[in-house]
């Protein structure tokens, strides 16, 4: 909003020139009447303020309202804008408010002007409009705009000759048509409020005037209208018709009930300055029920003690006194009547519908006093009680970072296609069943029309983003909510996704092609190791429906017979569809379930003082033999001194020479150690033989 300092000073003549426009801007801004820009207008013209007024302060969206703030800040008198006593002459014109519209049009004023001259504006109107860059149309139209900018109340001038019979404020008849000033034809609905004549609607009340009754250079007789319309009705109408006008902006936010006659008078005065005369007095129709909740609200009690209880300590030792409270609120237009030592009965101004309660008055006191005049004090500190999962969350995040995975955040939303690919088959606990992804009513796009049912599509998108920019190695994790359920009950589940793409070095056990899988497996195991969890198992049985994972290159981690994580390589079909240049490995982990486990408390065990002994075994097995079978078989020997069994090398010979085809050579290492004694050669030999027998029994053959 644009404000002329010259105009402000006209309203507050006592404002000394010694207070510069810049000082004024600062003072206003610190009181919430924000001046965002100050532009000089040349010698003698003052400045133009670019202002940002919060939506609750519709009273300050005009020059007079801001002048009132200035007068309050500097404790100066503000001359009142007044209309002469109305309804002196006989009503010259028939004006009515339809019974059904009485609560929607709380006040309606009208004034007939005869033999006016339509001409370009002159004087102050011309001067101020030029400085403001405001379009000038004619004295009659400009008068309305000038009054709006000056004191904030919307008015409208009709060409009286275009009005058939009298004027009535009523609800539109559904289907009624009205051509507005912007040239558009509108079809009205039953809750649009209109100002109509005996035949047709003339204007959309509180929003925009009608084309047919507008002022033209030929206009000689005018009906000036100024009214008070209901906020919700105007908001609904304006929105339905896609209109946002200066008038609707003000009515929507609550106009000043008592401003209508003043505004009408000011407009008439401006028009008549170019000739013509008023016919009859001002017609002023009032709906008392509306007056009672706007202009004649019952007073509210304000306690000075409450002011101090809410606002606290000031930097000035005397603090906020009863005198200051009275001065500030009076200047803002309240009428204060002392009620006891501590309190006032405060009658509220008609233009401040935002003030309704004691706390609103306390805010006004704080605002005028100046927020920065309050001291900086600190309340007594509280006792911090962390959320139950805080430690687990921190431990998981720390571990993932330590393992080389970077933290990422992806979109909360998913496309229907991705949801279909990635969610339906999710095997994680709680996600089974018929509950599908949750759609949005007003999504940002089709690609973001669902709440993500899993974090995997976001992870795939982020990895692909990197690949498409020639970043060939990426390790990412995201912690966040995945959504499922119905549109009346949405379930949010804390989930973790892992993504890995790029080269992982081959080892003596794994080829480079398989190594990423085993890295992800190790990450899952590492996360589980933070918790006091039962031993996890890995299975591929539950994956038959997880088509987004490449068959035979994926696994489900089971804890207590229930899945807690799914991981593996993104299916080659999906990778091809997305034109990915290299494989991606993905994991999703049920964090809610993980966090439900207690964090591991370590009890350190004694270290053995006796030497450990390593024994290596080299065997050839058929491809169908799994490590788990080998491992289980050796452990089932229940050798108490067996500390560990690990595969140290796997070898295949594609030519089938050193290792037969469909077989692999496994080098495994057993470590034996006792806590009580040095191991004897005979024991070691016995264990060695037992292990060899066991492995041979599994169908393995010892290698030379």
């Amino acid at each position: 909003m644009k404000i002329l300092t010259q105009w402000l000073r006209q309203y507050v003549p006592a404002l000394p020139a010694a207070i510069s426009d810049h000082q004024l801007a600062e003072a206003l801004t610190l009181r919430g009447i924000a001046v965002e820009g100050i532009h000089p207008l040349g010698e003698g013209n003052g400045h133009l303020f670019e202002m940002d007024i919060t939506t609750n302060r519709v009273d300050a969206m005009n020059h007079y309202g801001i002048a009132r703030e200035a007068a309050t800040i500097y404790d100066l008198p503000l001359p009142r804008l007044e209309a002469p006593a109305s309804s002196t002459g006989a009503a010259s014109f028939r004006v009515q408010i339809a019974p059904e519209a009485k609560h929607l049009c709380g006040r309606f004023t009208a004034q007939v002007l005869r033999e006016v001259t339509i001409a370009p504006s002159s004087g102050l109107v011309q001067q101020y409009f030029t400085l403001l860059g405001q379009k000038q149309i004619s004295n009659a139209v400009d008068a309305s705009n000038f009054t709006l900018l000056g004191m904030g109340h919307p008015t409208h001038a009709f060409d009286l000759e275009k009005i058939v019979g009298g004027v009535m404020v009523r609800l539109a008849r559904p289907g009624e048509r009205l051509k507005l000033l912007d040239g558009t034809d509108r079809v009205l609905e039953g809750d649009d409020l209109v100002i109509a004549d005996d035949e047709k609607p003339l204007s959309l009340a509180g929003v925009m005037g009608g084309w047919d009754s507008m002022i033209t250079p030929e206009t000689r007789n005018i009906l000036v209208e100024s009214a008070w319309f209901d906020q919700a009705t105007i908001r609904r109408s304006a929105r339905r018709h896609g209109l946002h006008t200066d008038a609707s902006h003000r009515f929507e936010r609550g106009a000043d009930f008592n401003a209508a006659p003043v505004a009408n008078h000011l407009v008439a005065e401006l028009i008549l300055a170019h000739g013509g005369h008023a016919e009859g007095g001002l017609i002023d129709l009032i709906t008392p029920e509306v007056a009672a909740r706007t202009a004649r609200r019952p007073p509210i009690t304000l306690s000075v003690g409450e002011v101090q209880r809410h606002l606290g300590t000031t930097t000035a030792p005397e603090g906020i006194t009863r005198t200051l409270v009275e001065r500030y609120l009076s200047a803002l237009g309240c009428a204060l009547r002392p009620a006891g030592n501590d309190s006032f009965e405060v009658t509220l101004p008609s233009w401040r519908l935002d003030i309704e309660r004691e706390i609103d008055l306390i805010e006004e006191v704080a605002r005028v006093y100046g927020y920065n005049a309050f001291a900086d004090t600190l309340p007594t500190p509280g006792i911090v009680i962390e959320q139950p999962t805080a430690a687990a969350e921190a431990a998981v995040r720390r571990r993932l970072l330590a393992l080389g995975y970077s933290e990422a955040i992806s979109s909360t939303f998913a496309s229907p296609q991705d949801a279909a690919i990635f969610s339906e088959e999710l095997v994680l606990a709680g996600k089974q069943g018929s509950q599908g992804p949750v759609p949005l009513e007003n999504p940002l796009s089709e690609e973001a029309s669902l709440l993500r049912p899993t974090l995997i599509p976001g992870m795939v998108t982020m990895l692909a983003h990197n690949l498409n920019r020639d970043v060939r190695t990426a390790r990412l994790f995201e912690r966040g909510a995945a959504f499922s359920g119905t549109t009346s009950a949405v379930v949010e589940r804390e989930s973790l996704s892992l993504g890995l793409t790029g080269t992982v070095a081959a080892t003596s056990l794994y080829s480079a092609a398989d190594a990423p899988f085993f890295e992800l497996k190790a990450v899952v195991e590492s996360l589980l190791s933070l918790f006091d969890a039962p031993a996890a198992t890995f299975t591929s049985d539950l994956l038959s429906h997880a088509t987004w994972l490449e068959a035979e290159r994926a696994a489900v981690t089971m804890l207590d017979g229930k899945p807690i994580a799914t991981f593996g390589e993104l299916s080659h079909a999906e990778a091809a569809r997305r034109k990915l240049r290299q494989p991606m490995y993905l994991a999703e982990i049920d964090l809610a379930r993980l966090y439900a486990l207690p964090l591991k408390r370590v009890t350190a065990r004694e270290l053995s003082r006796f030497q450990a002994v390593e024994r290596d075994f080299s065997f050839t097995f058929a491809e169908s033999m799994s490590w788990q079978t080998v491992d289980t078989a050796i452990r089932s020997l229940a050798i108490e001194e067996l500390r560990s069994v690990t595969p140290t090398e796997i070898f295949r010979d594609p030519r089938g020479v050193s290792v037969p085809s469909d077989h692999y050579a496994l080098l495994l290492r057993c470590v034996f150690q006792s806590y009580e004694r040095t191991l004897r050669e005979e024991e070691l030999t016995a264990w060695w033989s037992a292990i060899i027998d066991t492995l041979t029994g599994l169908g393995g053959s010892i290698r030379a």
Partner: protein, 399 residues
């Protein structure tokens, strides 16, 4: 045997012994022998060259032979043995106790080809090159993961408040109209409730307004949830993800993060709010940062304020970042509106809990800030989209 050489004894040679043996040629050693022969007694000469711990030959063998590559060990060995032979021969021909110096030119093997070459033995040279490291090459490491800069900033903010007694609370991202708007004193037709601003879950039109589900537009619903669940005193800080119906551009994102705080107790005042936020901003941005408060408007606080901090880039002098004002707007705050307390107590009563938020007895303040904006400021990030891309090139800068 008294092994160490007396350090006060004049050095028998001019070259510093041992230190640079890896680069020393046989010819240099040849001259060293001659020099030491001329300036030392027979016993000194023996100790100098053949001493068991500090003798030159011992040091030479360590410098040359021990770690020599296999293919060069032989050449070096030949040279070393020749050196040793010459020294032993000299000790033999030199009369003990006599200071007479034998005629070197008549010594068998003294003019061995190795000794006349001035070049450093190629084997020794090659070995020394293999052992040296180009320290200017980049270091190598399996790099740790990078914490997300946005979440780091969020955690910093939370920790500032944690240190003054604020407990963390979180809540769901899909909220009901009641928690997101109604209990926070938003009027039924407030613009924020519009579909242009808020993402709604589908199919809500037939449901009662308070039950309608939406993506929370701020973390304030957690304030309401916490007050309903817990009586005062409360000091909580609420980090979290929020959503608005904003098209993505350099400074807007439909997803963003907030940290809000709430303090409710007896006698909590506006000056407490000021002091708390002034402290927090100093803790976050440095003790020289100043704050100033402006009246503002939020439905759930009264009085409401916007808080500016003195520009952290120019210390308030005015620069491009602060649009030459010297100040940067950073948070919104205010005293909790009594209507919020009333909504909370009403719900507490409905749930069979005792009412606990009588605005005549208690008061409180709330504040909130956008994490993206602060992180972008801290790190000079110009595009908010980097936070949600998972782009390693972006993240690696924060390693």
């Amino acid at each position: 045997m008294t092994e160490p050489i007396d350090p006060t004894h004049p050095a028998p040679n001019t070259a510093p012994p041992a230190a640079n043996d890896q680069g020393r040629s046989f010819a240099e050693l040849h001259r060293e022998i001659a020099a030491s022969l001329a300036t030392s007694s027979s016993e000194e000469f023996r100790l100098y060259w053949l001493g068991r711990k500090q003798g030159r030959l011992k040091l030479l063998s360590e410098a040359w032979l021990k770690d020599a590559p296999a293919d060069q060990r032989r050449t070096l060995g030949v040279g070393f043995n020749e050196l040793k032979r010459v020294i032993e021969l000299l000790l033999e021909v030199r009369t003990p106790g006599s200071s007479a110096v034998p005629d070197l030119d008549t010594l068998p093997g003294w003019s061995h080809a190795l000794f006349t070459a001035t070049a450093i033995p190629s084997a020794a040279k090659a070995r020394s090159t293999a052992a040296s490291i180009d320290i200017t090459l980049p270091g190598q490491l399996r790099a740790p993961g990078i914490p997300h800069p946005l979440l780091e900033t969020m955690q910093q903010i939370v920790e500032v408040f944690s240190r003054i007694g604020y407990s963390t609370r979180t809540g769901p991202q899909v909220e009901s109209d009641f928690f997101n708007f109604e209990a926070l004193n938003f009027p039924p037709n407030h613009p924020a409730r519009d579909t242009q601003d808020t993402l709604l879950v589908a199919g809500q039109n037939d449901r009662p307004r308070p039950d309608r589900l939406l993506m929370r537009t701020h973390t304030s619903p957690v304030q309401v949830r916490t007050m309903i669940a817990e009586p005062p005193p409360l000091r909580i800080v609420i980090p979290g993800k929020v959503h608005r119906n904003d098209a993505a551009d350099a400074t807007h994102s439909p997803v963003f993060h907030q940290v809000e705080g709430l303090c409710v107790d007896t006698n909590i005042t506006f000056s407490d709010l000021k002091g708390t936020l002034d402290h927090a901003m100093k803790a976050l941005f440095g003790s020289s940062v100043k704050t100033r408060f402006f009246p503002s408007f939020f439905p759930f606080t009264e009085p409401s304020a916007d808080v500016q901090i003195s520009c952290i880039f120019c210390n308030g002098k005015g620069c491009r970042k602060c649009k030459h004002s010297g100040w940067i707007e950073l948070l919104g705050c205010g005293m909790v509106d009594p209507a919020v307390f009333a909504a909370v107590d009403q719900r507490r009563a409905e749930e069979g809990r005792p009412t606990a938020y009588d605005p005549a007895k208690i008061s409180g303040f709330a504040f909130g800030m956008g994490v993206e904006r602060i992180a972008m400021m801290q790190h000079g990030i110009s595009d908010i989209g980097h936070f949600y891309s998972g782009d390693m090139r972006f993240l690696e800068q924060f390693a």
